[in-house]
């Protein structure tokens, strides 16, 4: 299969590389925008990371993050950028699955879907 379709494999890898680069660039831009806003709003406050506060002190649900980002809360915008970043490798796996379908490589499609299932399972933990 690999010998029959080297072009498809190579093209798939190039597409994946571009996807990752743009995904990271977008995520970094959103995090930077939120970060600048965060420092303007909270820069003078006292920093406290010495003790772990658990999951209660912040918005860690997708709907909460989207709501905070939509209302221009700085920490929500940063969280949105971080979520975009986490989604880039997941998008890569989805793109690989499409590539293996195009190459009709069912064995590797199965493997890709297993990896995707594990990733989605973890992602579903975000309430």
């Amino acid at each position: 299969m690999k010998k029959d379709a080297p072009f498809t494999d190579l093209r798939l890898e190039l597409m994946i590389g571009n996807l990752l680069r743009w995904g990271v660039a977008l995520a970094a831009a959103v995090v930077l925008a939120g970060g600048i806003l965060y420092l303007i709003q909270h820069g003078a406050e006292h920093a406290d990371y010495h003790d772990f506060h658990g999951p209660n002190g912040q918005s860690n649900s997708v709907s909460g993050v989207l709501h905070e980002a939509a209302t221009l809360h700085s920490r929500g915008i940063i969280q949105l950028g971080l979520l975009l970043l986490v989604l880039t490798p997941i998008a890569r796996v989805i793109l690989s699955a499409i590539g293996f379908i195009m190459e009709r490589d069912w064995m590797y499609l199965t493997m890709t879907l297993i990896v995707l299932t594990v990733l989605l399972y973890s992602l579903m933990r975000i309430p």
């Binding site: 590389g17 970060g35 990371y49 912040q58 971080l82 880039t88 890569r92 590797y108 399972y121 973890s122």
Partner: protein, 278 residues
């Protein structure tokens, strides 16, 4: 210390960690957590969450360049990612069950191991012990661009490599690091994949592995946006700069220096863990 000053200092420290991580090929994550906990007094859970985020950023950011060179093997990567992602989920769950001191002690041991990997010379790929039939049926054998055209390679000991990858994934989820050093050992030493193919494919896998524990880290509140922001932006900038100057520096001396730093951090991490100061 106010948030503005702390953020700037963490950003600078993260940029340095990312720079050194890219030059030595070990990634920035492994020095980030001790930097944040020992130098800035940040709780290890927040440090691990920020580190995990930076690991995804550097992996995805560097992948574009690696892919163009044509070294990475997408099939080997996908097959082994089954092991690393399952391990990462297990590790992320374990990290909530273990006391902080135990996490710190394990982290110290990983640092000392990384110091050893950094200090020893680039591993030589010995003569292949014959292709693994499993590797053949999984269509893993490939070729990479050499000086005189494409060079073919064959993988060996697939089950052993797969098992070690599960361990690397567990460590990644447990500590919020990429565990790139262990991934390269599994591919280069065990499976006899050429070093360049191992390092680039490992970099590829690190992002997916880290994403597998990221959901659980988010859920537990390990990823604090105020802290993850300077760490992610700093490491990303540092690693991109590091990749640019990579060809111009003498990496051998640098690897020794980096190894010595890792060893010192590892010992300090274990000392702090044992005396309950983390």
């Amino acid at each position: 210390m106010n948030i503005l000053l702390l953020t700037l200092l963490i950003w600078l420290g993260s940029a340095l960690a990312g720079f050194l991580g890219a030059l030595t090929g070990l990634g920035g994550g492994v020095v980030l957590v001790p930097l944040l906990t020992l130098a800035f007094g940040i709780d290890i859970h927040y440090a691990m969450g920020a580190s995990l985020i930076s690991v995804i950023a550097t992996s995805s950011g560097a992948a574009a360049a690696y892919v163009r060179e044509g070294y990475s093997n997408i099939r080997i990567g996908m097959f082994l990612e089954i092991a690393t992602t399952l391990g990462a989920v297990l590790g992320a769950y374990l990290t909530a069950k273990l006391p902080t001191g135990a996490i710190g002690a394990i982290f110290g041991l990983v640092l000392i191991y990384s110091a050893w990997v950094s200090g020893t010379a680039q591993p030589e790929t010995g003569p292949p012990s014959g292709p693994d039939p499993l590797g053949v049926s999984l269509k893993m054998n490939g070729s990479y661009p050499g000086v005189d055209g494409p060079r073919a390679y064959q993988v060996t000991r697939v089950p052993a490599g797969f098992s070690l990858m599960f361990g690397a994934g567990t460590l990644s989820g447990l500590l919020g690091i990429g565990s790139g050093a262990m991934k390269v050992v599994a591919m280069d030493q065990i499976m006899k994949i050429p070093f360049k193919v191992s390092t680039t494919t490992s970099n590829f896998m690190i992002g997916v592995t880290a994403a597998a524990s990221a959901g659980i880290y988010f859920n537990r509140g390990y990823i604090d946006p105020g802290l993850a922001m300077p760490v992610m932006l700093g490491v990303l900038l540092g690693s991109l700069l590091g990749a640019r100057v990579l060809v111009r520096v003498r990496t051998r001396v640098l690897r020794w220096v980096f190894g010595a730093v890792l060893l010192a951090l590892g010992l300090q991490m274990i000392f702090h863990a044992l005396t309950g100061r983390l």
